[in-house]
Amino acid sequence: MSSQEQAVAHVHRDDVGARMGMWLFLFTELILFGGMFILYSVYRYKFPADFHIAAKELNTIVGTLNTAILLTSSLTMALSITAIQRKQKALSIFFQFITIVLALGFMINKYFEWSAKFHHGIYPGSETLLSKPSGEIVFFGLYYVMTGLHGLHVIIGIVLISVMMRFTSKEIVNNDSYVKLESTGLYWHLVDIIWIFLFPLFYLIT
């Protein structure tokens, strides 16, 4: 292990090192959301009944659809890396493009979901929400903050993948050197993992 690591020390390019840095960064993202999951777990423990009632306001079908969209976008992301490894440049760009389309679809869904809530007067500080019990206020507080921050990560992901599409077409990302695309992929899969947990915790409370 260590002799392998040292052999690379003299090569200016270190893909393993780059991926290691990316993973460490992903841990910070994971724990950033982890902090909010801690909040969620404590409040759900404190207000089980309120959470149950509040969760009924959320649309399970939209949530499930978004889960499917995000999982599929994770697939196309992974496929785009295999494509570049097999020197199928056009195919890789195509898969990246599909990933972006799916991500946009996710955001559009999210937009309609949020607007529907706003339409019903459920948003932080609204009179409708403030008249409800504390547990429901907290539930929607968590809902907006956690899905909002997750949505922000989806948007950042869209930007990153767009840059990667450009890089791939200009062959900055190519069959020999694709660690940038790999790192973007890692980021995108992490966004997916966060959603894998958000989905049952918000949409599937029975």
């Binding site: 290691m20 724990i31 404590v42």
Partner: protein, 101 residues
């Protein structure tokens, strides 16, 4: 540029593996939605979390190539997850015993 074999090459999974994993993920999503309607009492949330954990494991292992990374990477992921788990456990060592009047 010096070409180093160990930089990559071990990362190529076939398209087929990914599609299989995707199918599994979709199936698990279906299961988690389906069982959400059934009331297992305290086990309901546990079921949901276990399914989410299995899904994450698949994503980490296959999509994120952890399967072909060195031991160091797997240890890293273990450390990060352990840190989060410990935070949860210790926090609840306080919260589950709070008596409020």
């Amino acid at each position: 540029m010096e070409h180093n074999q160990e930089l990559h090459s071990e990362h190529s999974h076939g398209y087929g593996v990914y599609i299989l994993v995707w199918l599994a993920l979709m199936a698990l999503t279906g299961i988690t939605v389906a069982v959400a309607g059934i009331n297992f009492g305290g086990l309901t949330i546990a079921t949901a979390l276990v399914i989410a954990a299995i899904k994450s494991f698949l994503v980490l292992k296959i999509f994120m190539h952890l399967r072909s990374e060195s031991k160091t990477f797997r240890a890293f992921v273990g450390v990060a997850i352990l840190f989060l788990l410990i935070s949860f456990i210790l926090l609840f060592s306080d919260y589950s015993f709070i008596v409020r009047n």
